[in-house]
């Protein structure tokens, strides 16, 4: 009798009413906010800028967009300077991602060993990537300064002997690369480190029993096991290198001349300076997007092959 009462009491508790929400409803309710936000803030802008890329339009002119067909694309693609900037960005991406990979991986190999304070040290190394990129650009400009900057001084080249890193077209790109490497090697390190930590210990035990050399262990165990994560790090960094904007703006603003005019900087200049050529900027942005997607696809395909073999 008491049991029945308890059961009946149970039925009217709010908990029971909650249960009537079906999984289907929950599923929809959970996904809806994300989808609505993504559609409003990504799909709409994407299609709108696709439309704008076929028009002559400037956000500041007040005149409505005028349909011009493929003219913007023709203009961008036939501009030799744009191709030069693409080549420059490619070089920048290659140099900076390459160095980040090597340095990040090397750092991960060093801090993977457990020693007193290794966790603390690892976190300290992460600090550069927590800084705001534009602040980083600004401050490195000071460090590079040929008169009062500490870099030349520490390199033993007090003024006027030291080079002006950012004003010299030969060094400017390398200087930007160095800052990017400084800032983002820790990111590669973090990804590699989690890859390293996931390697099962028994592989090394087996290798140790077989008296395999450290070199052999590195090439046959460590590298293949970390490769997928390393590829993900490289993928992320390559995408970011093509979007690189903040650090360059802080460091050189694209100069000297156009020695560090990466495509993202050029894009900003077309879209938000001078004549505010929204139409041309949209067309240019679409070309960049297609290139990024193409490169990402190559990487992802390679990554999947790597996974398939592993």
């Amino acid at each position: 009798m008491t049991a029945t009462t308890a059961l009946q009491a149970e039925k009217v508790t709010p908990r029971h009413r909650v249960r009537r929400i079906s999984d289907k409803t929950i599923q929809t309710a959970f996904i809806l906010p994300t989808m609505v936000l993504l559609i409003l803030w990504n799909i709409f802008p994407l299609f709108y800028s696709l439309y704008l890329s076929f028009t002559e339009y400037s956000v500041i002119s007040g005149a409505p967009p005028r349909w011009v067909g493929f003219e913007n694309y023709r203009n961008v693609l036939s501009d030799p300077l744009i191709w030069k900037y693409f080549a420059l960005t490619g070089r920048f991406a290659l140099l900076s991602v390459g160095l980040q990979t090597i340095i990040g991986f090397a750092m991960a190999m060093i801090v993977r060993a457990k020693f007193r304070g290794s966790g603390f040290i690892t976190t300290l190394i992460l600090i550069p990537m927590m800084l705001s990129p534009v602040v980083v650009g600004k401050f490195w400009a000071m460090i590079y300064n040929p008169t009062f900057g500490p870099l030349n001084y520490l390199l033993g080249m007090p003024p006027p002997r030291g080079p002006d890193w950012l004003a010299n077209p030969e060094f400017a790109l390398w200087s930007v690369v160095l800052v990017d490497v400084w800032m983002w090697s820790p990111f590669v390190m973090l990804l590699c480190l989690s890859g390293l930590k996931a390697i099962p210990e028994y592989l090394y035990e087996a290798a140790a029993i077989d008296r395999a050399s450290a070199w052999f262990q590195f090439w046959r165990i460590t590298l293949p096991q970390v490769a997928p994560l390393l590829m993900i790090a490289i993928l992320f960094r390559t995408i970011e290198a093509f979007k690189q904007f903040d650090v360059v703006m802080g460091l050189t603003g694209g100069g000297p001349g156009d020695a560090t005019e990466l495509i993202a900087v050029k894009l900003y200049r077309i879209a938000f300076l001078g004549r505010f050529d929204t139409g041309i900027a949209s067309a240019f942005a679409y070309i960049v997007l297609i290139i990024i997607i193409a490169i990402s696809n190559l990487y992802i395909r390679y990554l999947n092959r790597l996974r398939g073999e592993a």
Partner: protein, 370 residues
Amino acid sequence: MAKFEEVGPHAPITESIRVDLVHPRARLGVTIRAVVAVVIVAIMLFPVIWLALTMVKTRPDAVAVPPKFIPYFPEGLLSDWCMVPQLNKDGTPKLGKDGQPVLKERDVCFDVTLEGIVGLFFERRTLTPAQQKQYMESPEFGWADRILLRRGLVITGPSEFVDRFRNSLIIAGTSTVLAVTFGLLAAYAFSRFDIQGKPDFLFFILSTRMLPPVVVTIPIFLMYRQLGIYDTHIGMILLYTVFNLSLSVWLLKGFLDEIPKEYEEAALVDGYSRMQAFRKVVLPQAATGIAATTVFCLIFAWNEYAFSLMLTSDVARTMPPSIASTQGAGGIEWAIIATASMLFLIPVVVITFALRQHLLRGVTFGAIRQ
């Protein structure tokens, strides 16, 4: 480890030691790694240390040639080493009127000043030398005023720094919370339910991260102007939320996939509703993932520059564009920029350190598990 006499010969072996890891050569290897790691930290952190030193320099010291590395407090820490007797041409110490040797600063030393810190918080105006003298003698100025008075400046009012910092806190904080919350809900749905076209949905979510900001900026700029949310907090919060959502969904889905479905099923059998199971079983298990995702979203939203530069002007402008455009009267105020950057860095560093265990684990999931 317990001694043999205590546990006896038949006690189970509870731990094993890899002989190759306790070999003296291996131990030496670890020591070398530790030393190299410390050197790496020193090199990596040099620019940050330089930032910290610049914070407490006067304007001339910040751009002194040769650069100054050693801070000292007058009459205090390190001042004995930094102040050396000035020498006459014949090499004897130069004596002042009172018979004491005249001291001068070493080239690499600078005395610590709070000019940059005060300058960050207040707007300043230059005084004429006569005014400066008069103001210095006036007793009504506080310590902050006096620091600037010494340089011939007077405080005219609070600077925009506090506003900008508050904007950053509101925008980055709220958008991180929203991105992690919505991301968690969506990730749970993707992880636990059979959804038609799931891989396509997920790729769509990821691909939103590949867009160059400028592609979306122009339409969003136009859209915001139309809706009247250009340069508003709500506009920036929603924008940053969306840009973090893709990362958040992917990372969190990786984590939730790791949590065995059986836990919730057991809870459902025990009479929990789906919502209760989610709250009481899944959430605590996903704590690590939530923490790691929060750090990554926060770092992005906190430091974002391009959107803020192009989509805000005064009301909702965050710190990064504001730091980048800091200018003093006649030249760059390095100390103020350094102070702003350091104060701006602290919240992220504190949160990252607090969550660092999660961060290391956190990155593994979502990346490895797909």
